[in-house]
Symmetry: C2
Subunit: 515 residues, 2 copies
């Protein structure tokens, strides 16, 4: 069986026994094994800081942009191989796999472009010069400088390619070396991708390391200039925030965690309209793409009471069309969830929802997947529930990370919709479908403080929209509260985590010479 | 004896016994007593969020600016009374008291001006519109909206007026209500100031509360849209970061903690030059102003080996001029530290420094203060030490929060100076004195990642400079690592803690109508 290695301190190393086994979640067939036991994590961090940090800091933004371009190219030339691995190890359909792998390329390319735009400088000005004294002579200028540590990226199992790439793009462009730790269960794609970066000489020595399994004692060695960024569950986030480095050495911990993203249908949207079609398409895509395992996927669908039965019928019809089975097989639209643990989690979540909701489609998710030996694979079918009690706690408090969503009726009043959405305790994205600017103008200020992104679906943008579930490199990704309070991407915004903002104060001509 | 009250849920309330006693640190005479025992902190938070938050959000930025202007005015008309209280309760000379009280007014006024500039809007755009689709139709626009919670401000004992004002200015302008908790030992000024705001009707109902003593169970009740900002010791910061609200509800904790701010004298600075005079004046001011109890005060003075004896002699001469005693007395330039605990801390710190440094001035800080009964008051004289070993751990690792600094020799190489400064593990501000742009250009990129501010002292700006110890509202205040990783002030930057950044994604004309 293939054995994964970790790339630390400039070389590929293998961990000691015991090893974890990576499987195909559709067939449960073992694919590879990995371990990080015995790897010198303190040494890995020191190497990244010393070699990688220095190497990146000698490069200008434009040159770092070229590094990202080379990484995107390394994915491009291995695209078919990576897609096949995503299908095998991730339970992805080919379309799901493209969403991950092409998303990785697109994000690296977008930050490569941003690097070219920022040009040959090393220190980035932040805002304009500020007059401080009686005359313009005494001046202030804020600058952004790369932190002198390393970035530890703890990535989620659902996006092994994009997750690694989007975090690495911002850190590397900022000038900070990366240690990427993919989730063990789906690490094959991240492993192959990283091998590709190194085979092609895309990244400077020390600037990208890979820990292909548990991080061991790495967290204990994080120091004052290091950064920790995490995507995953609230429980793990809580532990990471409590590590000594975060509590006593001010290591920032950026978290993307649970999010009960909502979709709000406004009362102005007519049956059969383009906006309604967008509303249905976005919700069904989010439920089924990657078997609902997207942190941005719609979990709560808030619908005017008056339209309820019609909308439920619309969903039933559309969900009935979804073929579930071995994602390697032609015609299958939804594969399994990625692991036995995830399947158990999703089933428990559906059970919790069932206590206060009614079934609309898919019952408890039992399904006979096509093209799979009986009893094999971590499959759950699309499940739509209806919350007659719009404030039922489980509906707003438990993220069921699978092909599961709940319809919630409301009066049609934007304030009521916003209040229901806010019960989610903070999310990554909520989408509002309306062609009534009055509704949008009332909903947006109420929804904004609880979200990192608001997607405003309308007839005019429907033909161009990638849907709310797609995270774009130019827009902020991250939400407050339950969603973790993190900020990723959004162009320059995502780079801030890796930069120190410093106010320079002095003679104006001295400051001008520096930036 | 005067009894302080807390202002919560729209009324002044008194805590139960036992009470803490506030004293005059020069005479140890009791001034007032206070307690917060039995106060309904959950209710206080709810009231602030509900009443205060709503009231502030109905105001535009310009209108919130007027609130801050009214607060500045309320201080202005009570200035003499507040200065007298600062002298009594803070151990401040009149000049120290002005630094605190006038600083509060200046910061409120600066944010009042910023409010006027931001105008009548409620939602602030963050950056430009972004084209997302094939055409300009599908667009993105980031906006900043006020969080829907309350801000708990835990302030430090050294700046009861400015500390409350600078934190409140940013939160209130952002649209978030404030619960201010001054340090108990010096709470008189904050108490009187807050009474003034309320007497003058300067602040909307619920937007400013005062907890005049320990916060009780307030921290336990912080929720997902709340914010915690703290200035004080690393130990307390560590505890605050570990509260459940921060770990599991993503409540952001902004920390300003210990900082071993440095001053670097470049080799080009000639004896008797204007730049050298600035170097001496800044260091001596920072050692003695507020008895060295400024988080921005210079603790490490890095001097070219070749100039060492000359510089030491310069300090001896200047420090010998400093009269220490009852700050209420004419001619006294430095008062006591603020409490018996602080005195014990400073003495222990000097002892720790003494293990690896030589005395230059003031020995261990024993002093006979003028105008004080023998044995009374928390006095320590100015202490200057010399570290023959430039890397001695205590010199770079222990912030002695009193009139204490250490001179450290270096070769004159900017990289070496920066390396020594970086041993401090991250600071609020470091100052570099040089008229050699080559030296400055080499030092700045090395120093920047370790600091929130760099003060570049030179002959050209000397006449206008307030010195590195003065925190300006337009420049960032906060540093990485040991300094806590926080970001305050800096104009709009300091407001970010209280705002959610949200990416709006939709039809361009819809977005344009919103911002």
């Amino acid at each position: 069986m293939q054995r994964l290695m970790s790339f630390v301190s400039g070389e590929w190393v293998e961990g000691n026994e015991p090893r974890s086994v990576l499987v195909n979640p559709a067939t449960e067939e073992p694919l590879a094994e990995t371990s990080t036991a015995g790897i010198d994590m303190a040494g890995a961090l020191a190497y990244a800081r010393e070699r990688g940090g220095k190497a990146l800091r000698t490069l200008s933004f434009a040159e770092r942009g070229k590094v990202l371009r080379a990484m995107a190219n390394a994915i491009h030339v291995r695209r078919e191989e990576l897609l096949a691995l995503a299908v095998q190890n991730g339970g992805n359909t080919r379309s799901d796999a493209k969403f991950d792998v092409d998303g990785a390329m697109a994000t690296l390319s977008a930050y490569a472009d941003l690097g070219a735009e920022l040009g040959e400088r090393h220190l980035l000005p932040d805002g304009e010069g500020i007059q401080l004294g009686r005359t313009a002579r005494l001046s202030g200028q804020h600058v952004l400088a790369p932190k002198r540590g390393a970035a530890l990226h703890i990535n989620a199992f659902n996006f092994p390619a994009w997750g690694l790439a989007e975090k690495a793009a911002t850190a590397l462009l900022a000038g900070v070396p990366v240690i990427a730790k993919p989730a063990t269960s789906t690490a094959l794609v991240a492993y192959r991708m990283t091998r590709g970066f190194l085979e092609d000489g895309a990244v400077p020595d020390g600037s990208l390391s890979l820990v292909a399994g548990p991080p061991g004692d790495l967290l204990e060695h994080l120091d004052r200039q290091d950064v920790l960024a995490f995507t995953g569950s609230s429980q793990t986030a809580m532990k990471l925030r409590g590590v000594d480095a975060a509590l006593s050495r001010s290591v920032p911990v950026n978290v993307e965690a649970d999010s009960l993203n909502a979709s709000v249908l406004a009362p102005d949207v007519a049956a059969g309209s383009e906006t309604e079609a967008l509303f249905f398409a976005d919700a069904v895509r989010d439920m089924t793409q990657k078997a609902g395992q997207k942190c941005t996927a719609i979990r709560r669908i808030i619908v005017p009471e008056a339209r309820l039965s019609e909308v439920l019928a619309g969903f039933e019809e559309r969900l009935a069309d979804v073929t579930v089975g071995d994602p390697a097989r032609e015609g299958v639209r939804m594969g399994p969830v990625t692991s036995a643990d995830q399947l158990a989690e999703v089933r428990a979540g559906i059970e919790a929802l069932a206590e206060t909701t009614e079934p609309v489609f898919g019952g408890a998710g039992a399904i006979e997947p096509v093209g799979v030996d009986q009893g094999k694979g971590y499959f759950v079918g699309p499940v739509l529930r209806l919350a007659r009690d719009p404030r039922a706690a489980a509906v707003h408090g438990r993220e069921v990370f699978g092909p599961v969503a709940t319809v919630i009726p409301y009066s049609g009043d934007p304030d009521e919709a916003a209040e229901l959405v806010a019960l989610g305790g903070g999310g990554l994205v909520t989408s509002v479908y309306s062609d009534d600017r009055g509704f949008v103008a009332r909903a947006v200020p109420e929804l904004a403080p609880h979200h990192g992104r608001l997607y405003l679906g309308s007839a005019k943008m429907a033909s161009q929209s990638p849907g709310p579930g797609t995270v774009l490199p130019t827009l902020l990704h991250g939400g407050p509260g339950r969603a973790g309070g993190g900020q990723e991407l959004g162009g320059l915004r995502g780079m801030r985590l890796y930069q120190q903002c410093t106010a320079l104060q002095g003679d104006k001509s001295v400051l001008n010479a520096l930036v």
